[in-house]
Amino acid sequence: MPETPLQVTHSQSNDAGTPSVVEVLTDAAKHTVLQVQDYAKLSYHSVLNLFTPPRYGQDTVQQMDDIGVGSLPIVLLSGFFIGAVMVLQTGAQFQRFGQVSLTGDIVCLALVRELGPSITGLLVAGRCSSGIASELGSMLVTEQVDAMRAMGTDPGRKLVSPRVLASLVVVPLLTTISVFIGLVGGMVASVFSLRLSATTFWQRAIAILEFSDLMQGFTKSVVFGFILSTVGCYQGLNVRGGTQGVGRATTQAVVVSSVLIIVADTFLTRLALFLADKL
């Protein structure tokens, strides 16, 4: 059956009786491939739609508020304590070698390159990917998405693209804030636990940073923002089975986006190290 971009493609089995193990595995593989294909199509259109009218600026700003401002408290709290615990964990080791002043270096590099983007990505995925999936899923099961289509609105443009654009903008901003607050947390822990001066901590932290480190952190945060929003939208718009399905989609959104963020993090780190060697 020809399908609209938001209709899910289902594999069909017309065989009577109990299917064999091979058939079950084949169906599962086909289903997975089709899911990946549908997700890729949704992601592609979500970006493509940003460049052609109609655009939904007000919806995008509202989503920035929901995703960005709404996530700020958890990002601030977790950022501060992650920075502090980094100092507590590494400081003890540096003390053994009399290199406590290096604490600022290691905390800053870890936060900018790795912990800032990934922890922020995972936290926002937990909060927003699930929220997006449940919101869109509820709209789908109550026929609001169909009503939107019936009135001539493309749900991809109205519902998906604003969330993707908002995430692409606010997740890097949240990551920046998280890194800064993490450094503040690290500084506080350094001062009170390692008796390191705040000036030394900041001087070392700033001096160690290179442009490539900033780019690595920024790139990761943009990719993670894209993953958490598109996965949330995909899961929400492919809900099957009423309210139970919405619950399943919400859980799936968090699980899939978190796993994808960790997997993407590995590949992006490898790519960044490769580029750092080449450049």
Binding site: M1, T4, Q12, Q144, D146, A147, M151, G152, T153
Partner: protein
């Protein structure tokens, strides 16, 4: 026992509002609609009757271009919508009003915002939107609910808001998906009166999917008199736009009966008589 009346394809006509030609659609569990063929003339009212699961909603969604047939063609308002890409279908759907079974109102928007939605999408100036929203809300006798959320309304009121939302863009064709399902008799009568008013005041082509035969007969046997602003028995005096009502009964995804209200009433077919009891 075979069907007592078989649908005959009308020839293509400039006043034809909707035409299904050998439309098949199915899902994983098998075909639902099996070779559906019928047509509706402009201004006509088609009552699509059938038990639950016979494909009434599917037929309406096909007519609105929300689904595409597996095979066959659907022509609506002079366009073949069965092969159009989604982007073009979005434009087409702006000419069609669709009243969903449960209303399908946007629950995060107020009643006024729900009704104004399509006009805002079309970029109509805000100064023009407000009076039009008030006009259609008054038409469905809900002028006082503009600032309320759908969750604060009763089921019947939500259906009326849904009709107002479908009406706001003044579509030439309106599709009603079981608009009285689950409502008490008085509220159902209010909804049917609204459909009559919409038909007789604005002369829209209507397709009403329902399992309640009384809804169909109400549309066939009554008309709304705009001058007296009341519902009257019999045909409208407006000879320029006579309201023709036809019945089409679906059974197992096929047309089982197609004919006038009189044909339906006088049928000797046992299956059809079950609707009359």
């Amino acid at each position: 026992m075979g069907p007592p009346s078989i649908s005959v394809l009308a020839t293509a006509d400039s006043t034809e509002a909707l035409r299904f030609s050998d439309v098949w659609i199915g899902f994983a569990e098998g075909p639902i609609l099996r070779g559906l063929s019928f047509s509706i003339q402009t201004g006509e009212t088609l009552v699509l009757l059938g038990e639950t699961g016979t494909g009434k909603t599917l037929a309406l969604k096909l007519a609105a271009g929300l689904l595409r047939p597996d095979t066959g063609t659907v022509r609506a308002l002079g366009q073949d919508i069965s092969a159009k890409p989604e982007r073009e279908l979005l434009q087409f759907r702006r000419q069609v009003g669709f009243v969903f079974q449960e209303g399908a109102l946007f629950d995060s928007l107020t009643v006024g915002e729900n009704v104004a939605y399509r006009l805002e999408e079309d970029g109509v100036p805000p100064a023009e939107i407000e009076p039009r929203v008030q006009e259609v809300l008054r038409f469905v006798e809900l002028g006082h609910t503009s600032e309320q959320l759908p969750s604060e309304l009763s089921g019947g009121m939500r259906r009326r808001v849904s009709i107002a939302r479908a009406l706001i863009a003044r579509p030439p064709i309106v599709l009603y998906d079981s608009p009285t399902a689950g409502l008490d008799p008085i509220t159902s009568q209010t909804i049917i009166t609204l459909i009559l008013r919409l038909r007789d005041v604005y002369h829209v082509t209507s397709v009403l999917a329902t399992h309640r035969l009384q809804d169909g007969f109400a549309l066939a046997n009554f008309h709304f008199d705009p001058k007296a602003r009341t519902v009257r028995r019999g045909a409208s005096d407006d000879k320029s736009a006579p309201a023709v009502t036809r019945f089409l009964v679906l059974r197992d995804g096929r047309i089982y009966f197609e004919g006038s209200p009189e044909d339906m009433l006088n049928t000797k077919d046992r299956y059809l008589q079950r609707f009359l009891i």
